[in-house]
Symmetry: C2
Subunit: 328 residues, 2 copies
């Protein structure tokens, strides 16, 4: 780092704010967290690496947002209320403009959710952002991956596929109209964690997971944890999970399978996939309304393991839609 | 990563073990942590970067140990009982021998402290290890940096300086006798977090900090947080904080100021610096005995801000002993 700013100056300038709910915040050896009676803590860590999870020239304000958003998305998938987070940051150098923008984006999202930075670490090294987030929820009420049963409906929140389209465009593999590209890029670089929906689904959803690596892959983890399978109607997926309002126009830009691939296995969506009993359909829609987050029913759970993709007529859909794996 | 092992395989093979105390461990969107009635959670994050915190060719088993040890050291400084940790790991490639050794060293130390891996993240990228550790302690009993008062004694646990000597030897700047080098290198690469001492000092010490960047720098943070100063007897430091049994022989290898520099500002020691009232001297020694960790009294707290180094006769000691700053 530049000799002009020590690690301590950097933390003081960009990452120290008044303590809110935590008993003790940034600046001691540990942060101390309170949890209320009858509550438990949900904890998740995500690490973002330059070149792997974001491009070197990404807007640092959006990166600050995304680094926290991907962690809040894990809390959402558990139905936990965000409480606090730690930030560990490796930086090649102390670029003050970068730090100012990064911390601005980070705290803007943190403030939306009342989620407090309580500690962390900064060091010199290849750009790496590791956030550990803490949420609170009543004991025994967490949405897990393992609670779904045969017959349950399968839902997805919001829209899927735009983030992948933006990624492919940034890689120069496709070209999107400017307005659509701007919207898709916002989805990629500044995703919206579905925290309110996760909270509203407590007691309604039987299982949930956030979609970070692609719908099929992440839904597959949920099915595996619950030891069941699912039948997904791709006509609902392609039509109702369409990303931006312009998505339909993609027919002119992308062939059907590429569009379906973006929806089913695009990755970086940070929507929730969840299941609920048929008897809870009204409750699910009420939760979606309360959370101001659209949800779409795309299929149902079956006893037989595996994921079966079918068209509107119930016929099997072929095609390889591999989930995005950071180590693929 | 090698195509032969996905992120999920890697986690399953090297980082998944049966759940112990956490309500839910590795494998869902979040880990869920229980805290008992009347307890609070202490949280700390540390990030280790290749080339900055360790050499590329370090024994991966020792690195696994150290990555957790530096975090447990923060819990020790707060007087917290280790409970659980998350691990986020960026790896250039999936080297199975490396992973096997790393996880072996990591879990060996975790098991000593009953500290459970509850979640995390793995990704491809320049080698980076980020651990967030959770400890438990009764509400209001944390050892803070801010509680010391004028007149309190200043103590340091164990020994200081060997880690820096090993670092300088590995950098080729000095040469140490082989036996001493092996011992010093162990201190650098496999430090012992003073968890038992931190627990034993609850209710006795008025303030504590762990020594990661060097005694003077870290003690300086404690003094600043408590708005006081200190007088440190360097004759006690040089004589009683001597690292390995061979340290005395360093007189023939290193001049006095270099030895003092290693002790006062070497860094990577992971000992505790703490303060306690004069009336608690017997209690401090009893705590040290209980924790089987030697402690040495090296000075006392004064109202006037600043750190004053004096010799055995009380005369000021000159010399620049800058603390190791990861961004210096």
């Amino acid at each position: 780092m530049l000799a002009s700013m020590s690690e301590f100056d950097l933390i003081a300038r960009y990452f120290t704010r008044p303590v809110m709910r935590a008993a003790l915040g940034v600046g001691d050896d540990c942060a101390l967290l309170r949890t209320a009676e009858g509550m438990q803590l949900a904890v998740s860590s995500d690490m973002l690496v330059e070149g792997r999870h974001f491009f070197a020239d990404v807007d640092p304000s959006r990166l600050g947002h995304k680094a926290l958003a991907v962690n809040l998305s894990d809390l959402a998938a558990c139905g936990a209320q965000p409480l606090a987070f730690t930030l560990a940051l490796a930086l090649p150098r102390a670029d003050e403009a970068w730090l100012a923008a990064f911390s601005r984006g980070l705290f803007a999202l943190a403030d939306v959710h009342g989620c407090e930075l309580v500690g962390g670490d900064t060091t010199q090294g290849p750009l790496n952002i590791c956030i550990t987030v803490f949420g609170e929820l009543p004991k025994g009420q967490a949405l897990l991956r393992s609670g779904t049963r045969a017959g349950d409906d399968v839902y997805v929140s919001g829209t899927l596929g735009d983030a992948r389209l933006a990624l492919e465009a940034l890689r120069g593999r496709i070209t999107l109209p400017a307005g659509w590209m701007a919207a898709a890029r916002l989805r990629l670089e500044q995703p919206t964690p579905r925290v309110a929906l996760g909270l509203a689904l407590r007691g309604i959803a039987t299982a949930a997971i956030d979609i970070s690596d692609g719908l099929l892959g992440d839904l597959g983890h949920l099915l595996q944890a619950s030891a069941v399978g699912a039948r997904i109607d791709t006509s609902l997926a392609i039509d109702l999970l369409a990303g931006s309002p312009d998505f339909e126009r993609a027919e002119g830009l992308l062939h059907h399978e590429a569009r379906l691939g973006c929806v089913l296995a695009g990755g970086d969506d940070y929507e929730l996939a969840f299941t609920a009993p048929v008897s809870a359909r009204t409750a699910v829609q009420a939760a979606a309304l309360e959370a101001r987050t659209p949800v779409t029913r795309i299929g149902h759970i079956e006893s037989a393991p595996g994921l079966r993709l079918v068209d509107a007529a119930g016929q099997p859909v072929s095609g390889q839609f591999a989930s995005f794996d950071h180590f693929a």
